[in-house]
Symmetry: C2
Subunit: 344 residues, 2 copies
């Protein structure tokens, strides 16, 4: 049992260099430093013990050279998110060893957080973190009567992505025909459940080897698709465009099939956007956090009443982080990938 | 001078068969019939003398076999617009010899129209038309103190397309960076003028032979593009996607580069939709006619004060119709293509 003021060992996962293409386990190594479990006198820093680490496909953009091919700044020129996240976790010197965590506050100089609080947000890949520069990316957990690991997913980023995607972007109505690609992923499985609860007709695809996507979609959607939640891209998107209905909506969360390609696949059926008055809209959870309380009001009761289920693929130990992360890109996980570094 | 009740000769342009690929002049022929200039006793038909015929790229979809490749119903399965337009102009037996006209009412059994009224809407390619089955697609012209030919374009379909595209789909704000492809076309030239009047930074492209579109866009939009009005598709769209700003909007009116291709070109940069939260939305004037009075309130004063100009490429005589129409697809026209069949 550690105490505030102790000097303890602190395992960290470090990237050797910028990653090229898909990440490999050998891109990371484990090192052990020490950390004093106390915020410096007079600072408004927060010192946390890290519990649950989230693994998400999006992380790859932060492992690559930011301005390079498929790097974060390549797609987000002028964005300061990358810097914000680096600052948030004191990681100027290492590449990308940060992502979404659930953590417990051990000591705090910040008025919004006190020892014993649970938080979720962007933290470094290590056992303990001193968060000094900003707390913009930390959220205090108000409801602790659900599994805390859920804040890495269903009650965190994936949850907000699903909520915003459904209610603010795709906006399916009761009885509408909804299609979801990557429907077993962290976001897809939630959107599917929300859509069912809202009375939509819902079909999802999961890493199908289906050859004729167009025929498959016609079979499941003889009347066409009203709303498509896009996580895949490529041939799936082309087939969906053929099968969209007039006034259809495509909510673009991501296109994972394209993230590691040097040259992206061309989409040929965009003419349908003009002819069928389709709206295709990209979005990010980050623009919708003003809705976070409303989101919790909706989802927490469903979770407690078991009307909504959430599958997590949990591995133990910071050492398991690289394999868990790499596994995402070969679909080794089943459900949301979480690494437990410490139990509360 | 013809009178109501006269039996007169009536020239018509007829399509020999469904068109394949781009239309050729030889796809049409001129024939002469007769017509009695009187609506049948007790009917609510309208008999009109046709004045100005509009030529638009969109017409090609109605020349092809509706369900065939690049035909109207191929892109609009289940739509009844094609049938409505056929019925509107009594053209069940011929293919596509109908489109937007300005006409003068000679006789009417319909309470909304009387002799002497000017109208615009979907009418057959002929000198006189008896419109028997529906008047859904006819609009009475309330303002005759502007050139009546304008109702084939700036005050008709192209005008409503531009208005809806600007105010309801692209929604550029004062100071935003606006890019318009096919900027000298019937729609593009209007959107450009509205955008200038609304205080936007506006750049348009016109059939450029520019090799490096990406570099050209970077030069004109060092800060990126907020709103793109899409009329072209292909490489232009791909280059625009690279140069869009966060929260950018793409209003898709059409993609003329793709209309005659057996296989459509692939768009490779759609990833940017997800990463930059771009909205890409197809639209048609047809969904916005509840705004027609509001549109006229905006545009008529601009036209009368010469704050808005509109270039028409006018040819004389129904005989000139096929060449004018075919010329559209090789960019032979300069400005909105109109055929004058009779002066008032």
């Amino acid at each position: 049992m550690v105490r505030v003021g102790d000097e303890v060992s602190n395992k960290q996962l470090i990237f050797r260099d910028y990653v090229i293409g898909s990440p490999k386990e050998s891109d990371m190594y484990l090192t052990t430093g020490t950390i004093k479990l106390k915020v410096p006198e007079g600072s408004n820093a927060v010192l946390v013990k890290n519990l649950y680490l989230s693994c998400d496909p999006l992380m790859q953009f932060f492992m690559r050279k930011a301005e390079g091919p498929n790097g974060y700044l390549y797609y987000n020129p002028g964005s300061n998110l990358f810097q914000t996240m680096l600052y948030a976790c004191d990681s100027e010197l290492v590449i990308c060893n940060f992502w979404v965590w659930v953590a417990k506050v051990l000591d705090s100089g910040h008025p919004e957080f006190k020892a014993g609080d649970f938080v979720w947000g962007i933290i470094g890949w290590e056992e303990y973190s001193l968060i000094t520069k900003t707390t913009d990316t930390l959220i205090k957990i108000q409801h602790t009567d659900v599994p805390l690991s859920y804040y890495t997913g269903i009650l965190g980023m994936s949850g907000m992505t699903s909520y915003a995607g459904f209610y603010e972007v795709g906006t399916p109505k009761k009885g509408e025909y909804v299609f979801i690609s990557a429907a077993s992923g962290a976001v897809g499985q939630l959107i599917g459940q929300i859509a069912k609860l809202e009375g939509c007709y819902v079909v999802g695809s999961v890493g199908s080897k289906q050859k004729d996507l167009n025929a498959a979609l016609k079979r499941y959607f003889p009347e066409g698709i009203d709303v498509y939640f896009e996580h895949v891209g490529d041939k799936m998107l082309d087939s969906v465009l053929l099968n969209m209905r007039h006034h259809g909506r495509i909510a673009v969360c991501g296109m994972i099939s394209q993230y590691n390609l040097d040259e992206h696949k061309g989409i040929k059926n965009l003419l349908h956007i003009g002819f069928k008055w389709i709206q295709m809209k990209g979005y990010t959870h980050r623009n919708y956090y003003h809705l976070y309380p409303k989101f919790l009001d909706l989802v927490l009761p469903y979770i407690k009443e078991k009307k909504m289920v959430y599958v997590e693929d949990i591995v133990e130990g910071l050492e398991s982080g690289p394999a868990a992360l790499v596994g995402l890109f070969s679909s080794r996980n089943f459900g949301k990938q979480v690494v437990v570094v410490a139990h509360e």
